[in-house]
Symmetry: C2
Subunit: 377 residues, 2 copies
C-alpha cells in the first residue's frame, strides 16, 4: 500500500490585477460545504506574507497584523457561494468567463470580487517590503455564509476565538455597488396556525373554516403601512408581509387548518424582543393569539455605527453618501460583538444568486482603490 499524498492547493497569484484575481477565485468551486480547496489556497498565500499571523479554524482563515496600533479594523468576506444554476444557458458557472470587461461566473458579485480585494490588500500590507500603516488590520475569510445561520464560519470564530475578531470597526465586502451601506435591517419569521373543524362542504355549518379564520390577519397585513425609520441619519424601510400561506385538503372539505408565514423586516432602532412585541401587537389587533404563533427565524438588526470615529474616517476616505442596508448581512454579527460594521464591496447585490451573476472589472478595481486610499493613504 502506498499512502496518498495530501492534495496540493491550487496556487493563487496575488500579483495579478484584482479583476484577474477575481476570475482565479471563481475558478475554484466553493459552493457551501465545499470551501476547503479555496480555504487551502487562501491560507497558503496568507502564510507566505511575513507580517501576518494566520489562524485556521475549520474552513475559516483569519490573518492579522500585530503592529500594536491603537486602532484595529476588520476586512471580512465569505468564501462560499450558492449552488450553480441548472437552467440551460445560465452564465453563473464555474469556471468563470470574460465577456469584454465583464466577468460572468458563480460568486462574481457574491462575493469573490470582494475576496479578491481583501487578498490584494493583504499582499500590499503583509509583504516584507510593505509600507508602515497606522492601523492594525484583521482579514477574515469564512465558510458557510449562504446556508443556515448556525453553520456560519464567522459565527464559529465568534464562539470559539472571539479575541480574533476584536476590532474598532469592520468592513464586510458584500456587494454594494461601491457605496457604503450602513448597518442592516433585522428579520424575523412567524408561522401562524389557524385551526378549524373539518366538515363536508355540503354541510359547511357543521364545521369551522380555518382559511376564513385567517381573513382578519391577512386583511391587517394588506392594510399595514410599514414604517421608515431614521437611525443615525440613515432611513431604514421596514416591511411586514405574508410570505407563504397554505390551507385545505380537498375541494369538498371545510378546511380544519391554515398556516400563514409572516416575515418582519425591522429597522435597527429595535431589539429582537421589540420586533417580536410589535408583531405580537399587530397580530393581537387581528384577533390572533400569541399561542398560535411559532417563531421560525430571528436575526437582529445592526445599527449603522457611522458616528464612530473609525467609521467617519472610512466614509471620508472612500467617499460617497452612505445608504442603509435593507437585506440582512453579517454586519449584524459584528454589531452583536460590539464592532461597528458597514457593507462596502464591488458589484450589484441584485445580481447575487441569479443565473447570470457577473461583475465589471472596473467595479472591483475601484473598490480596491478606495480601500487602499483608506488604509495606505
Amino acid at each position: 500500500m502506498t499512502a496518498t499524498p495530501p492534495p496540493t492547493p491550487v496556487t493563487l497569484n496575488l500579483d495579478d490585477d484584482v479583476a484577474g484575481l477575481t476570475g482565479q477565485l471563481i475558478d475554484i468551486y466553493s459552493v457551501s460545504d465545499s470551501e476547503t480547496p479555496l480555504a487551502d489556497a487562501v491560507e497558503v498565500q496568507l502564510r507566505s506574507l511575513p507580517k501576518l499571523t494566520v489562524t485556521r479554524i475549520g474552513d475559516t482563515v483569519v490573518a492579522r497584523t500585530e503592529f500594536k496600533r491603537d486602532t484595529r479594523v476588520v476586512l471580512a468576506g465569505h468564501l462560499d457561494t450558492v449552488p450553480l444554476p441548472t437552467v440551460e444557458g445560465a452564465r453563473a458557472q464555474v469556471p468563470g468567463v470574460w465577456d469584454g470587461e465583464t466577468l460572468y461566473g458563480r460568486g462574481a458579485v457574491d462575493m469573490k470580487g470582494g475576496v479578491a480585494v481583501q487578498l490584494v490588500l493583504a499582499r500590499l500590507i503583509g509583504a516584507a517590503e510593505s509600507p508602515e500603516i497606522d492601523r492594525d488590520v484583521t482579514w477574515v475569510f469564512y465558510d458557510h455564509e449562504e446556508v443556515a445561520s448556525e453553520a456560519s464560519g464567522l459565527g464559529r470564530v465568534a464562539r470559539e476565538a472571539p479575541e480574533l475578531l476584536e476590532a474598532d470597526f469592520a468592513v464586510l465586502l458584500e456587494p454594494t455597488n461601491g457605496v457604503v451601506e450602513g448597518g442592516c435591517n433585522g428579520t424575523c419569521r412567524y408561522e401562524i396556525t389557524f385551526d378549524g373543524v373539518a366538515a363536508h362542504s355540503g354541510r359547511a355549518w357543521k364545521g369551522v373554516n380555518a382559511i376564513h379564520q385567517a381573513a382578519a390577519l391577512l386583511d391587517a397585513l394588506a392594510q399595514y403601512e410599514p414604517a421608515t425609520i431614521s437611525v443615525q441619519g440613515l432611513d431604514y424601510r421596514e416591511g411586514l408581509n405574508a410570505v407563504r400561506i397554505r390551507g385545505g385538503v380537498a375541494g369538498n372539505v371545510i378546511p380544519d387548518t391554515c398556516v400563514m408565514e409572516v416575515n418582519y423586516r425591522f429597522a435597527p432602532d429595535k431589539t429582537l424582543d421589540e420586533a417580536h412585541q410589535h408583531v405580537r401587537e399587530v397580530l393581537a389587533g387581528a384577533g390572533v393569539d400569541w399561542d398560535q404563533v411559532r417563531i421560525t427565524d430571528a436575526s437582529s438588526a445592526a445599527r449603522p455605527g457611522l458616528d464612530h470615529p473609525a467609521a467617519v474616517e472610512f466614509v471620508n476616505a472612500v467617499g460617497g453618501e452612505p445608504l442603509p442596508k435593507y437585506g440582512w448581512t453579517d454586519v449584524a454579527r459584528f454589531s452583536e460583538l460590539g464592532v461597528p460594521a458597514v457593507n462596502f464591496g464591488p458589484g450589484d447585490a441584485l445580481l447575487a444568486h441569479t443565473d447570470h451573476e457577473h461583475v465589471d472589472a472596473e467595479a472591483v478595481r475601484v473598490c480596491l482603490q478606495a480601500l487602499r486610499r483608506w488604509l495606505l493613504g
Copy 2:
C-alpha cells in the same frame, strides 16, 4: 393451446334475507373500475327473472318490467364503492363482518344495503309467480359513481340509451337513514388566481404581494352569510367557502402568486348560470375580476319534485317527513332528464367513506318493507 373459459360469476342468493344479501354484495369487491364481477353477478340474477327485460351497457345493468302501465318508476343504485381503508384496525373491509346485528364492510351504507333492497324487489316483482302491480318499474345498477362525474355509468346510459331511463319518478337508494330526502343542492368550484410581483422580502416595496391581494376576497367570504332557501317546502342551506389556498415560494420572497379555491353549494331555486352569477357578484364586491376565475366544477341542483303525484304517493306510502338533501347526488341527473327523484335508502350517510362503515340489519329490512308497501301494497 387451450382457451381459458370465461370466469363464472359469483352466484348471489336473492332468496336470502335482505340484510344477508347486503353481506353477499359486500363480499364481492367492487371499488370503482372493478365493478365487472359484481355487475356480472347481478346481471345473471336479473336475466333469470322472466318478467324483466335486461340491458347491459358497460358495467351498468338495467332491468325493466313491460306491463304497459301508465306510470313508471325507477329504483337506482350504484355498484361501486370507494377504496378500502388502509389504516390498521379499520373495519370497512372486504369481506364484510357481522358484529351482532351490525354489518361492517366497505359499501355497507354506500350503498350495498340499497342495492340489496333493489334486488329483493326485483325478485318479488320479476319472478314468474309475482303478483300484478299497477306501475312499471325500472331497476338501474350502475358503475363509476364514486369517481369523476364524466365516468358515471348512469351518465353513460343517459347519453347512449336515454329511453331506458324514461319514467315518472325515481328513487335513488343512497343512504338517508330511511327518510325521504328531496332534491339536492348544486355545487360549483372556482379557482381564483391573484397575481403579484416577486421581490426580495427585504425590499418588499419593489414587489406586489399576491397573498395580500387575496385579503379582500377572504374577508368577504368570512363575512358572507349563506342563505337558507325554501323550495317546494324543503329548506336548503347554502354555503360559500374557501376550501383551499396556497401562495408563496420561500420565506424571503414577496409572493407573486396566490391561488384560492372556492366552493359554492347552492339551493335548487337556481340554475348553474344563476349560481355562477351570484358568485361573480360576491367576487366583484371584493374587487376580483371574472378574468381571474376558472370554473373547475359545476353540478346542477335538483328540485325535490315532491309536488308530483307519483312523489306524493311515494311519500304517503313510505311515511315520515321529507328532508332536503344537502350533498350532491345522482338525483340531479334524473332531474336533468325531467324525472323527479328523491333519495331514500338504509343507513347513515355520515358513515359513508369512513374507516368503520357499517349498517344495521334492521335499517335494511325497514327500507325494504317501506318500498314493498309502496310498490306491492
